[in-house]
Each structure stands twice: as structure tokens, then as C-alpha cells.
Symmetry: C2
């Protein structure tokens, strides 16, 4: 199938929001989604962007029943390892189920790898849910290692309430 | 003990490099360190910074036997969650063993939380090794959740060789 991979712009935020919700339902964590396309516009395409994004688009004649042509996306940002230096974090990679098996996911991931490579990153990092075996197999077949399994890294998170309490105890910097 | 928490500058990179190596030895992964203080200077304090850093400094009369006054650091950068929005990633938090138990680690973490809060982040995220129980207990006592344990998130990594191969297969974007 013909498709193009391109950099997302602010005009894509409604479509990206639709795909964010779709993926969260697949991941069985939809209750965690707490964002709007307006916030994506400000946070991704404002003066001080917090993320960047690639989208996969099919031609009009291949659009979904609902009329969508944006059928996949990958959100990314730059990260840093004090051991290895520059890193690119692929925060999400998603392709709509009807459009899988045609190389779109791989093309998005290769696009992220290229952006990382061009920016002198030595690592592409991301997280995946342990029960999502199709994705883990896909990533491993492209050279990914599970460093939670291999080295024991655990993903930790402090949510807004606890974070606010810590912030209130911060020293003068 | 008296100490100050301040933003790191390029002049701190030699000291930060020393602490990076020290921590990697504690984490039993020192063979993975492949960076120099010169790279830290470019990557953290060049035109396009990939990370930011806080350092903890003690007064001259409390310096280490070797003469160091920078006794801890925390490297961070901004990240993004498509579900929750802005996030701050505390890539490292380290305090030299002789200076622990005096609130320096907590002050660094609270500093990161405050920077995140001031930038409208709703999440403070980081990784920790599963056998590092003292650190895990410390973080949990300040409201951190282990989302690898709770939700099954696995940390995945594609290293430079595999990344280069993917980059070579990238479509035109």
C-alpha cells in the first residue's frame, strides 16, 4: 500500500489525539488519558516544544471508513544518557489495526532511528507493556533489547500530587 | 551539614564526569560508560542542550579528602506523555556515599520536582535498578510508584549498530 511518512504539524493534532485514545484502549489504560488536542498543539508546536512527531498518511482512496487518512504516528523527543550521551526516545509507535502488516510501523521506527542518527544519538529507547508480545517480538526482531529483563531497570513515576509536595520542599536553587 | 543546590554550568563537567563514573561502579555497569567531560560540555551547554543538571556543593571546609566540593548531582530533561502531557525525567540522582543521610539527595530530587512543576509537568519519571533497594525505598517513601511492577512497562533499547541499520532503511520524510 502507498503511504507517506512526514513530520506532524499543529494541524495534525486532532488526528493524533484520535490515535492516542485508540492506542490507550488497546493498552487497557484509557482511564489514564488526560489531555486534549489543544494541549498537544501548544506542547508540540509552541515556542518551546516538548515533543516532535511523525505521522503516516495514506492516499484519499485508501482512507478509513470514517474518512481518516492519518493511520499511524510516532511521538519522540531527545533524551540523554550520562553513560552513552545523546539518545532519542520513541515515546509511542502506533499504526491502526487495519493498516498493519504493510511496513508502516517499521517505516515510522526507521524514520525515528534516522532522526536520532542524524542528531548523533547512540541509542533509541522506548517502553513497552510486558504482555504486548506482538510488539516486543517486532522490536526485538529489529535489534531491540529488553533492559528491564537483562539488567533489571524499573520504570518509576511520581504523579502530580506527590510531585507538588516535593516541589514545595525544594531548596532555593 | 551546609550545602547548596545550584544549576550546573560548563565548568562543572569534569566534576560531573567524576560522579558519573563513581555511580556506574556502584551500579556494576561501569563498562557501559563511554563519554567524556568534553562531550558533556557540548551536549549540555552548547547551542542545543540535550540535558540540564543540578549539582550539590559543600563549603570548602567540608570538601572531600581529594579536594572535591561537588558531592552530588541530578541530570534531567523534559519528556512527554501522550496521555498526561509534560513530564520531567530525572535521568540520574547521585550523592557521594560520605555525604548521604543529610538530605542532599532529597534536596536534589525536590529541586527537580520544582523545575518540573514550574514548567507545568504533571509527572516526574526515572528508572532504577531492581536490586537497588535503598534507592527504591527512598523513592517510594516520596510517593514514587514502580510502574514496571504495577503495569508491566519494560525498558527497551536499540543500540548504535542496530540503530544505524534502521536509519539506513528509513523512508524519505
Amino acid at each position: 500500500m502507498k503511504y507517506t511518512i512526514r513530520h506532524a504539524g499543529p494541524q495534525d493534532c486532532r488526528e493524533i489525539m484520535r490515535l492516542i485514545v485508540e492506542l490507550s484502549v488497546y493498552e487497557k489504560l484509557e482511564e489514564q488519558v488526560n489531555i486534549t488536542h489543544k494541549e498537544l498543539e501548544v506542547d508540540g508546536f509552541g515556542e518551546n516544544p516538548f515533543f516532535k512527531c511523525l505521522v503516516a498518511e495514506v492516499p484519499e482512496d485508501k482512507r478509513t471508513k470514517e474518512g481518516h487518512t492519518v493511520v499511524g504516528y510516532s511521538m519522540y523527543y531527545f533524551a540523554y544518557s550520562p553513560w552513552k550521551g545523546r539518545s532519542i526516545c520513541m515515546e509511542v509507535l502506533y499504526v491502526m489495526p487495519d493498516f498493519r502488516g504493510q511496513g508502516i510501523g517499521k517505516a515510522l521506527m526507521c524514520g525515528i532511528a534516522k532522526i536520532g542518527w542524524d542528531n548523533k544519538c547512540t541509542r533509541l529507547q522506548f517502553v513497552v507493556l510486558d504482555w504486548n508480545k506482538p510488539s516486543i517480538d517486532f522490536y526485538k526482531s529489529h535489534g531491540a533489547q529488553n533492559v528491564t529483563e537483562k539488567e533489571g531497570w524499573q520504570e518509576m513515576r511520581i504523579d502530580d500530587n506527590a510531585m507538588e509536595k516535593l516541589a514545595q520542599m525544594a531548596p532555593k536553587i
